[in-house]
Every structure is written in structure tokens, then in C-alpha cells.
Symmetry: C2
Subunit: 270 residues, 2 copies
């Protein structure tokens, strides 16, 4: 094993720390297209997903944790150490574990995913809560889904809460951003996905809709639901039956249940 | 309509404000057994659920919002106004709406709920995330569940994030706290609930378990899962089938899917 070469970053203005700070704080990729992730589990998931870890950063008090990662990658990681104070200033978690990384995503190509036989996609129009978006990516992967299509006014998948809630699924599923509603429906036509919008009180119940062919679910904003143009264009507007007085579920629950129901109708694939 | 009588609270040390501060900050009931809630939607849910609103508090900039509530209750509310600064100091949300209330819960009795024909209960052993707990209460009510049994090391249902994620379901479902695992299993025996533990990788898949009779689902901690004594005592340990490499779902997703699957097997009751 090569000896670990760790660089100590003592100035909070060091360009690499600035990259971490901006990417974590704004929930956006770095200019080089890397995603910033925080926490031991996510770095493990990135390595497990065979992503390139461009930089691994530890707070001084968590420096010991670098050893495992360095051993696992045979010393091939670029490791950096900074003070606990600086680490806390760029972390987005309330009680940081002292480990963060910049990873280069290499998601499967959208077109290939949508062209899969019996592809399942989820289109999110206006989902604002990053935890919900991350949870949806996790459910998408768990139930064999192909891609997530993000429409207008939808939170960034690189938001640190979204990355955390995805529990690593963001590293492996195909996510297309900044799509117009029109573009999403056009993709669905192109790949012959059955468009199923979910809305409280709609007919029919989802469990009676045949979900065994290629399908795209449309999920709207937590408060106001799907925009009228999406409800009008969808082939089916279905409901998840709810006992009164509950009127709706949050976006993550609705999407997870739709993905579960789809996998169930297909006999699950593990 | 009676004229609205609003009291202005100008000292941050006013006992009522202290009650709000402690209850919201600690996620616990007030000494008088009231739950503190924040936000317009939750106050509406409390009134819709016919709970007694013991005190309604508005920040000065949100005072206008009091009018709707006062009109809806025919002036029967005790309304208070405080400065925006004081309100922010006790609020738990990042961007407070300026409305909070102390409400007296009157949940349905646990024993009656568990004795219902085909009762569905969810037992949580060590669920730490308040958002997950709230989401589970929402799913429990949405799919006709009877009660939530909270075991050791489980977050308080009165945590403000839990209350918010429950979207009002906390006001209407039966939640029993601080139960030992032994007590939970003893309740299940007493009410003849089929005990179904959920664990990744277990056999059989949940969709093949007959969930049409009285049933209690056991859900463990997000990281470490259910404790061995719960896995050993459960009548069935089932899995939700997941596509690799996803190894688990978060507690809220697992519980929601189990409750959905139960309602589906029973033909849903809306």
C-alpha cells in the first residue's frame, strides 16, 4: 500500500475549501461538475458505487477515519485535513462527522434508461423539499426505476439534504434537471411511457391501473399538487386511496407507494 | 360574533411565552398537558380535529391571520400577540409563519383502538428521526391504522418536526409512549395482533404475508434495525423486496409501505 499523502489546509480561503463551501451550501455541483457529500456513509456509498473521489476532506478530530478509506482505495485518494472550526463552517449538518468528499458523478445515460424494457420514471413538478427528493431517488432505485425527471421549480438533487436522504442512490440513478413540463411529456411520448399523474381524490385508485408496461409517474408540489397542464396531459390521473380525514400524502410517500405498487404488480425484481 | 380579546405579551419572560418556548424547544407537552404547534396549517388542523385551542399566539406581523381563526371559532379563542423578535426566539421553524398555538390533545383511547376489529398498529423501536415519526403517524391514519406504540429510545411525537410531518394526524391517532419492548408484545398478545417485524433481507416478502386480520408492524432504528429480542419474539419477520444495491429503506418508507400493503389486501377503506 502506498503511504497516505495528506495535505493540510489551514486557510479557510483555500480554493478547495471554497469549492466544498459553495457546493455544500448552495446544493450545486462544483464548476468541475463534482458533487459535494458529507458523512462517512455517503463517502462509503460513493466508493461502493465506483465513483471517482476527487478529494476527501477530514476535520482534524476525524483524521483517523481517513485511514479506512485510504486503505480501501490502496492509497489512491487525495486526502486533505483541516481544522474542526473550518470544517464546521462549511458543513451543512448540525453535528458534522468531520468527513466530506467531492465526487464525480457518472450517472447512467437518461436515454438508455428510458429505453429499457418496462422502464419506470418519476417526474417531479415543483417538489421543494430536498428530503423528499432524496427519499424518492432511494425508492426509485429500490424498486427498479429507471430515471427521475425534474421539472420547473423543483429542488436541486445536489442539495446536501437531498444527497443524504438518497442514501447513495443519487450516485447510481439517472436524474435529468431543469426540464419543462412539455419536454417531460415529449420524452414520455418518445419512449412510450404510460403517463400516470397522482392526485388526491382522482379516479381510479392506483392499484387498479395496469403498471406492468413502461410508465412515468407525475408528482406535484407538496402544497398545491400538480399544475393543470400536467393533469390535462397525463393519460391517467389516479389516486392512492386514503381514509378520511387525511387528504393527501407527502410527495415522497406518494412516489414510494407508486413505485412499490409497480414493483408488486410486476412480481418484484430483487 | 363576540369581539376579539387579544392580549399583548411584551416581556419574553411572560409565563405563557415560556410555556411555548419550552414545549416547542424540547418537543414535550406543557405541564398542563398541551402540545405546542406552529404554523397556520397545524392550527387549522387542530380546529378541524375539534381540539381545544388553549392559547393562540401571533407575531405582530402575522396578527391579521388571527382574524380568520377568531371568526371560525366565533370569538371563542384566547388570542395573544407578541413582537416578531420574541416570536422568532421561540419558533422552531427557519422561516416562521408567525402563528403558534397550545392545543389540548384528546386522542382516542389506546385500548379501544387496539380492540377494534382488524386493528392495525405500528410499533417503533428506536426511531430517532422526528420527520420519520410524523410521516408514520400520517400514513397510519391515511391507511386506517389504529395506534402507534413507541418503544425505548424513540423520538417524542411532540417534537415540532414530528408534529409538522404528521400534518395533523398526531391530533387524531392514538400514540402510546415510553413502552418497553416487553409491554408492546404483551399488548399485542392481549389484543391478538399478528406481530410482523420488518427487516431487510428477511423471508418472506411482505406482500405474501396475510395482513387481513389484526396486525402490528415492528419497525427499528434507521441505522441498526430492530433489536434481537424484537426479531426473536415477532411471529413473522418479513422483508420489503428491494432491488440491489439498495439494502434498506428509511423507517417512514418501510412503515408507509407496510400500511399501504395492509390496506390494499383489505380492499382499502376510504
Amino acid at each position: 500500500m502506498k503511504p497516505a499523502a495528506r495535505t493540510v489546509l489551514s486557510s479557510p480561503r483555500h480554493p478547495l475549501l471554497q469549492q466544498f463551501r459553495r457546493a455544500l451550501g448552495r446544493g450545486e455541483l462544483t464548476p468541475e461538475g463534482c458533487c459535494a457529500v458529507e458523512g462517512v456513509h455517503l463517502v462509503e456509498e460513493a466508493l461502493r458505487s465506483r465513483l471517482e473521489v476527487v478529494a476527501l476532506l477530514a476535520a482534524r478530530s476525524a483524521e483517523k477515519r481517513l485511514e479506512n478509506f485510504e486503505a480501501a482505495t490502496n492509497g489512491g485518494l487525495r486526502s486533505y485535513v483541516t481544522s474542526d472550526r473550518i470544517f464546521r463552517s462549511l458543513a451543512q449538518t448540525e453535528t458534522p462527522q468531520g468527513i466530506a468528499a467531492l465526487v464525480r458523478l457518472s450517472p447512467p445515460r437518461l436515454e438508455e434508461q428510458l429505453a429499457r424494457p418496462k422502464a419506470v420514471a418519476v417526474a417531479l413538478l415543483g417538489v421543494q423539499d430536498p428530503g423528499n427528493l432524496g427519499t424518492i431517488l432511494r425508492a426509485l432505485e429500490a424498486f427498479g426505476g429507471a430515471a427521475c425527471l425534474l421539472g420547473p421549480k423543483t429542488v436541486s438533487p445536489f442539495n446536501s439534504k437531498a444527497v443524504r436522504a438518497s442514501a447513495g442512490s443519487l450516485f447510481r440513478v439517472s436524474v435529468a434537471r431543469n426540464l419543462t413540463t412539455e419536454k417531460i411529456f415529449s420524452l414520455c411520448r418518445q419512449y412510450r411511457l404510460h403517463t400516470v399523474a397522482l392526485a388526491p381524490g382522482a379516479t381510479p385508485p392506483l392499484s387498479t391501473v395496469d403498471l406492468r408496461g413502461p410508465v412515468a409517474f407525475f408528482i406535484g408540489q407538496e402544497g398545491s399538487g400538480l399544475p393543470p397542464e400536467a393533469l390535462a396531459q397525463a393519460a391517467v390521473v389516479a389516486r392512492i386511496p386514503l381514509a378520511a380525514p387525511v387528504e393527501s400524502l407527502n410527495a415522497a410517500m406518494a412516489a414510494s407507494l407508486a413505485l412499490y405498487e409497480t414493483a408488486r404488480q410486476r412480481g418484484f425484481r430483487e
